[in-house]
């Protein structure tokens, strides 16, 4: 289980934007090419298959958090010693209730 929790699953913000843009471009492009090809050979099924291929490609390229989407992690400030404040707020709320 420790191994599973160490698999990275997140992208940074810029990576998310790039992933979305890339997937849209791939699917639209495959759809357009599929439409033209399907019209040339007069087989709409070819159009659907090509769009499906575009979907698979887009899924492979943009669903897993590849390293290319994780190049600009946020620079978080180092954690401060705020533990006491939280404890106090928590106890106040408890009294009100």
């Amino acid at each position: 289980m420790d191994f599973l929790s160490r698999i990275p699953t997140h992208m940074d913000f810029e990576g998310q934007a790039r992933a979305e843009k890339l997937s849209r471009i791939i699917i639209t492009l495959f759809g357009a090419v599929g439409l033209i090809w399907g019209y040339i050979v007069q087989q709409f099924s070819q159009t659907v298959y090509i769009l499906g291929a575009g979907f698979v490609l887009a899924a492979l390229l943009t669903i897993p958090p590849w390293p290319m989407y994780r190049r600009k992690p946020l620079n978080w400030q180092p954690a401060k010693n705020g533990g006491e404040n939280q404890v106090k707020e928590g106890s106040k709320k408890g009294k009100k209730k």
Partner: protein
């Protein structure tokens, strides 16, 4: 887009939207096409009998028998938005009891990729040509015409009437011998 599931959902939704759009384009590219073509129909042998139709009652009704020739090249009708054609041959006539009688005598499904250049010689009808009385004997104007339904990938289901029909007469005497 922050989790794997969300990215998968977003991509799938977008791909399906694109598919709907492509399907609409496919429909729009064929909706104004003209699917009417010529057909040549001719009858070869025409016979009328007077026999009881036990499926309805014991009364004797007119039953027509005919064989026909048909020539039609339906290949140009197929395009990327036509999956199959359903052809049917209709006999239309008038009797004293009914102003309009329509009987489907024969039909055929042509799938895409099958030979659509039809040339039938001396074909038998597929269905019985019953009249609901005695309107067939000596009837002078029976019109055979071919129609088809186009079954598309997406869009309308048009019903097309072919150009060209054939009119014939039934004999004035019943045939009693077995055929």
């Amino acid at each position: 887009m922050h989790s794997v599931i969300q990215r998968g959902n977003s991509i799938l939704a977008y791909a399906l939207s694109v598919l709907a759009c492509l399907t609409f384009i496919c429909f729009a590219s064929t909706v104004f096409l003209n699917y009417v073509t010529d057909v040549k129909i001719n009858t070869v042998k025409v016979v009328v009998k007077n026999v009881p139709d036990y499926s309805i009652s014991r009364e004797k009704n007119d039953l027509g028998f005919l064989t026909f020739d048909m020539q039609a090249d339906l290949t140009p009708l197929f395009n990327w938005n036509v999956k199959q054609l359903f052809l049917y041959l209709t006999a239309e006539y008038e009797t004293p009891s009914n102003e309009l009688n329509q009987v489907v005598l024969w039909d055929k499904i042509i799938l895409r990729g099958e030979n659509a250049a039809l040339d039938f010689k001396n074909m038998n009808t597929k269905y019985y040509f019953w009249d609901d009385g005695n309107g067939l004997k000596g009837n002078k104007n029976i019109t055979l015409s071919l129609s088809w339904n186009i079954i598309p990938n997406s869009g309308l289901l048009p019903n097309i009437f072919a150009r060209g029909s054939h009119s014939f007469k039934f004999p004035v005497e019943y045939t009693t011998s077995r055929m």
